[in-house]
């Protein structure tokens, strides 16, 4: 299935900003995250088609997955 993956902030370093990628049907967000080897300590927010989701949620063909670092201000 085709998933549009959008990365933000530090996740873009050495990777990409937005890319259409192919994953096996039934893949979860966690599997996408693992495939991209994102730094775990700043994994924070994941959105499917702009809506907050959990790492265990399954993706569907044509979904847009946005992966954001966790946010804290000061």
């Amino acid at each position: 299935m085709q998933i549009t993956v959008k990365l933000s902030g530090a996740f873009r370093v050495g990777r990409f900003k937005e890319q259409v990628r192919t994953y096996p049907s039934g893949s979860s967000i966690q599997q996408v995250v693992d495939s991209l080897q994102l730094p775990e300590q700043i994994l924070g927010i994941v959105l499917i088609n702009g809506v907050h989701a959990d790492f265990t949620d399954l993706l569907h063909d044509g979904d847009t997955l946005t992966i954001l670092p966790i946010v804290d201000g000061g």
Binding site: G9, L47, H52, I70, G73, G74
Partner: protein
Amino acid sequence: MKFHTTDPAAEPSAVFYKRCTLDLQSGKMTLADLPCRNLEDVLGGFGRSFQDLAQRRITAAYCDENPLIVNTGLLTGSTAMTGMRTYFSGYSPLKGSKAGLPAAIWSTGSGKFGAKFKWTGLDELVFENRSATPVYVVIRQSDSGPQVELKAAEQLLGLSTHEKIMALQKEYPNAHFAAIGPAGENWRTNYMGAVALSTENQLKSGDDKCRFAGRGGMGSLMGYKNVLALVAQADDRLRPVSTAVKQVNIKVVKGGGSGRLQPISRGGGGGTWAAYDVLQAFHAVPVNNFRPQGNALPEKLFRENVEKDYHLQSQACYRCGITCHNYVYEKNADGSAGEFLAKFDYEPLNLLGTNLGIHDAGQAARLIQLSDNYGMDAISLGVTLSYALSYNQRNPQGKILGGVAFGDYDKIRQLIIQAGKGHLPEIGKGSLRLSHQLGETDYAYHVKGLEIAAYQPETNPGYAWAIAGGHMSMATYGLLTREGKSDLDSWVQGITESKLQIVGFDMIGLCKFFDIVNGIGTQMVEECLKSEFELNLSAEAIRAAVHRAFLRGLALELRQGYTRAEYVLPDEVFADPNPNIKLPNIATREFFAELEERVWAVFEPQLTGLLPE
């Protein structure tokens, strides 16, 4: 502090703290070892100072009865990482109720002053009355205990925060400093004065890398008292780090709480600046006075864009492994660091950058530098300026302040300078007063008279119950964006229980990045207290003390005349919903009305018996 118990929750009065009360009018000093009244006193910071403020009925911030309380927390100056905090408390010239009474406030910062202060042997310094002439105060360790001395300070008048610190450094080796800037000196017309705290980086490099206790105008109160600076001179008294604290410190550096703030090169997000990238995904980065436009403008101040033209450097506070500071320098032709410009944290960068229509990193940096040098709170300054710019945009026929507009760097720069010099009370007295004066209050982005932080209020109804600054005394600012919570139950629980725990850091002497997710009621803090002082204190007892301290702050607000109608968000949020923010819309009057009812239903029965009769 002296401990004659290992169980301070059960026997707080067996713990003593050393206070110096200094009457600035007479010069009289009184040193005393005082027993703690409760665990909040033991933990320190605002947990103690607010109990003392509650004993006074203050009707105007600038009066001799309003004290300025400088204190530390239990773990300030300890081997626990981030234990660097100093607290400044008093009744605020800036934050006040519509009844006209000033609110109690505290403000805090890191830097090494707090640790040095603690190492002099003093835990608290209370300034009473005011000095007839400008003074600075030297606190020294001695064989017979801490000594406090008043010194004439005419030579420091008019100097910037940084210049005052560097001038004093020449005279006082082995010391650290707290100083106000020209804004605090001009307290009559500038209510948002901050206190600058010196850092090791600053003293070694000569660059103006202070930290700031900014919120609520404690620098202006210090200016009213005619105290221009504090000097804490003592040998470093760090004990060897125990195995237990070492383990905790490793968790702090690598744990989920602070890992996100580490430099990108260490797998972190790159300090608080990273909030730009995250919030922009929701079009929730404040633009032009908190009106995000749904476009890419905020991306101009993304790190990836700024580093093309500027040299960036990650640095840390003294002995801190988190390394969350992002210093911005001009970039030399060979890529090396040129002139130091400013430290990019999310709040000042946004509120003196994008939210003023300034999208050039160099210009934003210069404005931050000016705010720091004049010694103003970047949040209050930025939000009051953005209100004025918005007023001009809405009133083309009746513009104020020379017609300054969003993005007009040169004019904005001049306004900051004039406000810093005390020549512009319209800005210096904050957005509440300016908006009332102009008769347009809906888009003045303050809550209870204190300007909000750089999180859209549409995403944070919890602002209404923050007691000392929107994001640092109520950690609900990520509840919608980070956690995706848009249901009432989560918001009620957050405001009345879990997210208020953030104020614990403003008691115990640690920075919030020690463990911003979990607060101080944790095993990590238990272990530090056991190792440092042989105290047996449970996480539950700590959490209960933090909860009481928060409630006391709320009770004190109500005693100072706040009505429930003042626990609201800026009206524009409801009256003109922003369609560009891509998050569930919880900023409706209906949601907020139900939230109010349920939050007060929880808080109200808890508020009795917390203040003196």
